[in-house]
Amino acid sequence: MNAVELINFSAGYGRKDVLRTVNIGFKSNAISAIVGPSGCGKTTLLRSINRTAELERGYNCHGDIRIFAQSVMDVKNVSNVRRQVGMVYQTPVALPLSTKENVLFGPRYYGGKSNAEMDAIVEDCLHRVALWDEVKDRLNQSASQLSGGQKQRLAIARALAVEPQVLLLDEPCSSLDPASTGLIEELLKELAVGLCVIIVTHNLFQARRIADETVFMMDGQMIEKGLTSKLFISPSDEKTRSFFSGLVG
């Protein structure tokens, strides 16, 4: 079963169409990469899945998005969808709180946990993003002093802390150095066990390195989707071929 499924999904801002009748399924326990030229609608697609796109002025959509067969479109309390679908953005940003409180930002809001359980969440999430050893001695210090790569891992930990089933990442490594990028790629592979990970990237090598499946988008449409190994070696669509050769070759 697909973890996330877009069915005849279209979206736009005002009169401008951004996504046109997209049909894609994303698997659970796997990493899917979305690639495509700038402005083709990748961010809009991600933000539609966790229903934050509707915060933008003029956003409109139709069609359906399902998460584990449940439609998210007619959920009354959007908070439930957003909690289920974590999202990490391009710019590494720490909330102006301590490292610990960054991780607990969601859990404290949803409540219902003892202090000991909260501490356990912090340790567990920071372990999962390989940040624990670096910050365990300064959990209560401001997270603003962390490096970009650390902040981005903290952002992933913050998203994991509310136990999402889907994790969306929008070009998470585009402002990071190769070492931090490598670190994040490794931990994403580990996270994909038990989670549906969808990553938008401009780095085709990155898609090749970590993605089980890759989706190629252009002009708001899905052009081609397939196993990464297959798609990169023998794309069946002419547009995919020229996009890959233009950027890789």
Partner: protein, 281 residues
């Protein structure tokens, strides 16, 4: 040196000259006040009641200082909470709605209402119709109406200055706006909001027109009772000067008022630069 570099130099020179001119005017005003009023400032002047014949030509200005502080305090009590709440609505909740635009427009127009008109309005409504009489309550209300838009605009700008990414992150976690506001946005904007409140405090302390017809008396003990008239520094100054009671005391009173305002404004400036540093981090 090329043309652009020369233009830059000229422009920078121009900024320097205009900055110096403003500084010069300020220094001139203050030195003149110190020269004319300084010798008359004493313990008795600050802490004594007006005395002499005619009243005010001797003694002190303590009730006027007290009255101004009461007026400003009341104005803030009445305006700060509504002002900040309006700002929060404008910045956090009404982003896409027509109502926010209407409120923005109203607030903007309120800044343009002459303060004497606000005074007359409160006179008609509060002093006469509601029977408050010339009173601290009426004066505080008039000043509150005057500073309300200032507080709204400065708080709104402080809130909007907070990194948009924080809201995006919080929204993506499904967290409510009020929680985000309370844990992140308000603490982040606090310095700017307080700076705006201080600026409007100074604005209220120096205003004469709104209290002229609503609160001020030539002589009063300014006890803080809501339904009694009060003395106030700017009004006292106006009387001393206008009735030729004592030019010396007029300058001394002006000096006290200016020093008070200067302290408040410097504090506000410092908080504003603190806020800029916070935003930059």
């Amino acid at each position: 040196m090329n043309k652009r570099a020369i233009a830059d130099k000229l422009l920078i020179g121009f900024f320097w000259v205009s900055g110096l001119l403003i500084l010069l005017v300020l220094v001139a005003i203050i030195s003149y006040l110190i020269w004319r009023g300084g010798p008359f400032i004493s313990r008795e002047f600050i802490l004594g009641d007006p005395a002499g014949i005619p009243l005010g030509s001797e003694g002190g200005i303590y009730p006027a200082i007290k009255g101004t502080l009461w007026l400003v305090l009341l104005a803030l009590v009445l305006s700060v909470i509504p002002g900040i709440l309006t700002a929060i609505y404008l910045s956090e909740y009404g982003c896409s709605g027509g109502l926010a635009e209407i409120i923005n427009l109203l607030v903007q127009s309120m800044t343009g209402v002459p303060s004497i008109v606000i005074g007359l309005f409160v006179y008609a409504l509060g002093v006469v119709t509601l029977g408050w009489g010339i009173s601290l309550l009426a004066g505080g209300t008039a000043l509150a109406i005057m500073v309300y838009p200032v507080i709204v605009i400065s708080s709104r700008d402080a809130l909007q200055g907070v990194d948009e990414n924080y809201r995006l992150i919080a929204n993506s976690l499904g967290v409510s706006k009020s929680y985000t506001l309370y844990r992140v946005i308000l603490p982040r904007a606090a310095a700017g909001i307080i700076a705006g409140i201080l600026l409007s405090l100074g604005y209220a302390a120096g205003a004469t027109a709104p209290i002229l017809v609503t609160a001020a008396a030539v002589i009063a003990n300014s006890s803080g009772a809501l339904f009694e008239p009060v003395m106030a520094l700017p009004y006292h100054l106006y009387i001393l000067f206008n009735e030729h009671l004592s030019m010396n005391y007029a300058y001394a009173t002006a000096l006290v008022l200016v020093i008070l305002l200067l302290i408040i404004n410097i504090l506000a400036l410092w908080l504003n630069s603190l806020q800029e540093r916070i935003n930059g981090r």
